[in-house]
């Protein structure tokens, strides 16, 4: 998983191999079930969470989505837009793809202060992911 090694310092707490660590960090981060994968910012604060097993493509898409949300929360609009777009361009069939399309549009709008970005996103949902809840959320921009 090149994406993980490039974007994160990966750490694992194993429930059976190290139950003390599992208890310690499970309580700290409110993670009491496996698999639970947290994305933490450099200060150790959680910014995204994936709970439960996912097939590889969906798992990777969730990790990419979470990383994009971190840039979004930090106001890095251009970087966030790029990362959100990568999700649905590289993994168009993943469950996270419609959400990524939605937030790519929001990131562009916030970065450029241009409402056309939202209209374009609503239009994009008319041809792809149109049955998703994210298409409904974007429909108000049409």
């Amino acid at each position: 998983m090149k994406f993980v090694n490039e974007n994160f310092i990966p750490a694992r707490v194993h429930v059976k191999e190290d139950p003390e660590a599992f208890k310690k960090y499970g309580e700290k981060y409110n993670a009491h079930w496996t698999p639970t994968v947290l994305e933490l910012d450099p200060n150790g604060e959680e910014f995204y969470r994936v709970e439960g097993f996912l097939p590889l493509e969906d798992f990777l898409a969730q990790l990419m989505l979470g990383r994009a949300h971190m840039d979004f929360k930090q106001g890095k609009w251009d970087e966030a837009e790029k990362r959100f777009r990568e999700v649905y361009e590289k993994l168009p069939n993943a469950d996270a793809a419609p959400e990524a399309l939605y937030w790519a549009g929001v990131s562009r709008y916030k970065g450029k202060n241009d409402s056309v970005a939202l209209k374009d996103t609503a239009r994009a949902f008319q041809t792809r992911y149109k049955d998703s809840s994210w298409a409904k959320k974007a429909s108000i921009w049409a």
Binding site: M1, K2, V4, N5, N7, F8, I9, P10, A11, R12, V13, H14, V15, K16, E17, D18, A21, F22, Y25, G26, Y29, A31, W33, T34, P35, T36, V37, L38, E39, L40, D41, P42, N43, G44, F47, L63, R67, M70
Partner: protein
């Protein structure tokens, strides 16, 4: 490519601050 998971979480938290790099923290029960 294999993910190079570390198990020294306290050290990872310190290093993440120094490197200004996010952390992926995996709570797992998968066979090792």
């Amino acid at each position: 490519m294999e993910i190079k998971f570390r198990h020294d979480v306290d050290n990872v938290l310190e290093e993440a601050k120094k490197q200004n790099k996010p952390i992926l923290l995996d709570f797992s029960a998968a066979p090792m």
